[in-house]
Symmetry: C2
Subunit: 448 residues, 2 copies
């Protein structure tokens, strides 16, 4: 036996010795991965320090409700039910106040409703005798689970009450089934409701009082910053497009020209934030029934504009570009259109951020519209008579046409921002840009 | 007293009598709302009958695990812990197999890991004496909750392990805290793990065996149908655009021209389905490590094409449309480009659906590319000499240019579908459309 063991040992050592370099390589790989993971985590914290604060808040909330277990007097009154307070905190505590409140209210109401119905189901099952009872209860459990699961498919209900329906199924099942064993169903319901309430309140209080994160404020900022991103692209587009490629630099390096891409896919985020925001009470400049729908409308129009910009962006990097002479003819007007729409969007973004009437934006929109008129005149004037090769005109014409679309989109966005300004009675501050000093050097023309 | 009661009764009746018409109106309003809600539910079921089946499956799974409570022998071995099986079923049972498996595996592994760590924490706390114990436990609970909550912000982890981290926090807290009261921590962990396993297995078995809904199959179909929607738009676009508005009908009525809109916002849905699909075992034509990333790549290219189509769609309803003569000059070529790209997309969609090599699509793409060359020749040929008003050319030039972009996008989509075809070894079937019989009547030209 000893010999056998010894020989096995040798084989093992041999394997280890042979396996060493791959193991070394593997451990190096793991080290790199772990290092990458940690530097990624640090970046997450730096990008939005509220994430760090939220994590500490979650830890605090959980430690607070765990006091139920540690202190004899509290534990005596709740016993094992104290578990529900802990579960509630883990599940309900979310990043924003709105999400926490929504989940808390859903959980509380669903527990109350399901508890009540489960007691009713329990009484009804009691009437059907020893053998009938589990059958009746089983039927009720099946029925409510199937119906509630189906109702969760309804998009409007899913958006606001999905979690409530889940808790409804859970509570109804647990209480009606437990009730079969435990005759003190009412006490069970009472304890569960109370512990859920305590857990929920702990979450809501910590969420609201300690460095609150408001989903409404986030939606407000997201809408404004999306608009700003489009504005930044448009302000830079004219110069980038008309600059000749032989200038040496690669256009793909410009991060400010790529910022708009996140706007294309922002719908889900906006919808989620609006759903959370609806649960939030009055905070700062936001009321309880703040017109969040108007924000979604502005968001949709901003995305529509972003789709046009995506097409424009394609022309920045297109292989076949129009000849220098052709481009230079409309360079000034197109640059002005792009620049003025960009400024308008940035002004609108600033107006939302500061909640001030967007007067300056109207001026920039008028400027861009008058430049569109100039472009029309330029195109009509027959400046192009000497040019017969339309093939080289097409890219420029497309860019011009897309820019005209962008002006239309910008005007639509401005209109909906103005609607928002009326709804929320934005502050009136005189514009700092006077009409006489616009970049085009032209007087402000009233084009609607 | 009696008199007082009677007078109160009269007041109440008076109020009721006065309140009657509004109440009547309100009840009518409620009736309408309830009716609307039910017809909406019926429509949800008709749109996708799998929803009805899923609801019945959820009811069945819940009724099955509730047997724990009803039957004495089963109840004896688990006691109140049987509750965890019920909770697991309610929370883990999802629409698709992938989502159910993902949640089940997350819940199982997280319970195992958190249980193990909680036992360790419990032992460590035991060493620190009667007073130190709650402090040490409190510290551990705080630490793990804060760290896990923070890690949940990491997008890659959130996508696949978010639920696991939630259950980790939950289980660690519950077991380490309960352990403070209950010295049989190991038994608690064992029971919880076993009941979670039973609940999870019930879900997975029912989900896989009874009319399974595969997220992978859904993603596969979604990608194909999105492509088809763009194809339908493009096939119809040429005729719609070049048809004169005086033909009487409103263009806005065409539902086939609006189908593409859902493609613009499909990113979230695609990402979620791909995340679920990664958990799914081999089923039908899909393996365990199916190249879902390639599907997402195709999806992204399809969306890029949809952005161009959104710009094209704007031109369908534009107020200023180009003159009839100008449009008629490029009508045939543009219609062919649009038609052929549409056909190519529909062929590619069909190729994905049937998992057959997309030969026919390549032919349509070559046709559209040769039409683009024709368009170039047409524009170069000086056909336009008599036309000096470029203003009227701009819309047509833009549409032509966007169509050329669409051809580029379509070629990119075709390339990525071909990559998928190579990865999955799509079946080789000879194309039914012969190159000699293309719609343009031109021979197939090899343009890359």
């Amino acid at each position: 036996m000893d010999l056998e063991c010894a020989s096995q040992e040798t084989v093992k050592q041999g394997l280890l010795a042979r396996g060493w370099p791959p193991i070394k390589g593997f451990s190096k790989h793991v080290k790199t991965k772990v290092f990458e993971f940690f530097s990624h985590l640090i970046k997450l914290g730096q990008d939005d320090p509220r994430r760090v604060v939220h994590s500490l808040k979650a830890g605090l909330a959980l430690t607070l409700v765990s006091l139920f277990y540690y202190y004899q007097p509290l534990y005596k009154s709740f016993g094992v039910s104290a578990m529900w307070a802990v579960i509630t905190v883990v599940v309900v505590f979310e990043f924003s106040v709105g999400a926490t409140l929504g989940k808390g209210v859903n959980r509380g109401l669903a527990t109350l409703l399901a508890g009540g119905l489960a007691v009713g189901a329990h009484q009804l099952a009691n009437l059907s005798g020893r053998i009938g009872e589990p059958i009746v209860l089983g039927f009720f459990v099946f029925l409510q689970a199937a119906v509630s699961t189906f109702v969760r498919f309804c998009p409007q209900i899913k958006a606001r009450y999905d979690y409530g329906l889940l808790i409804f199924i859970l509570t109804f099942s647990l209480i009606s089934i437990s009730g079969f064993r435990d005759d003190e169903v009412l006490e069970l319901v009472h304890k569960r409701l109370l512990t859920v309430l305590i857990g929920g309140l702990t979450c809501v209080i910590i969420s609201v009082l300690l460095f609150p994160v408001w989903a409404g404020q986030d939606l407000h900022n997201l809408i404004a910053s999306n608009m700003e991103k489009l504005g930044i692209f448009l302000e830079g587009f004219g110069d980038e497009y008309f600059k000749m490629p032989e200038d040496g630099e690669s256009k793909e390096d410009r991060p400010f020209l790529q910022g708009y891409k996140s706007v294309l896919d922002s719908k889900t985020n906006e919808d989620a934030l609006a759903n959370f925001a609806r649960w939030e009470p009055r905070h700062g400049r936001f009321q309880f029934r703040h017109p969040w729908k108007q924000y979604l409308k502005i968001g949709a129009l901003t995305r529509k504009c972003a789709y046009r910009i995506e097409s424009l962006n394609g022309h920045l990097y297109a292989d076949i570009q129009a000849k220098r002479e052709i481009r230079s003819k409309i360079q000034e007007t197109c640059t002005t259109i792009s620049m003025e729409s960009g400024k308008a969007l940035k002004e609108l973004s600033m107006a939302i951020k500061t909640m001030v009437q967007p007067f300056a934006a109207d001026i920039h929109i008028e400027n861009s519209k008058s430049s569109v008129k100039n472009l029309d005149t330029l195109l009509k004037s027959g400046l192009w008579d000497d040019e017969t090769d339309l093939l080289e005109v097409v890219p420029v014409a497309t860019v011009a046409s897309l820019l005209i679309d962008v002006v239309t989109c910008t005007a639509e966005i401005a209109e909906s921002v103005n609607e928002l300004a009326t709804m929320l009675k934005f502050e009136v501050v005189e514009p700092t840009v006077s009409p006489e000093k616009t970049e085009t050097g032209q007087p402000k023309i009233g084009i609607s």
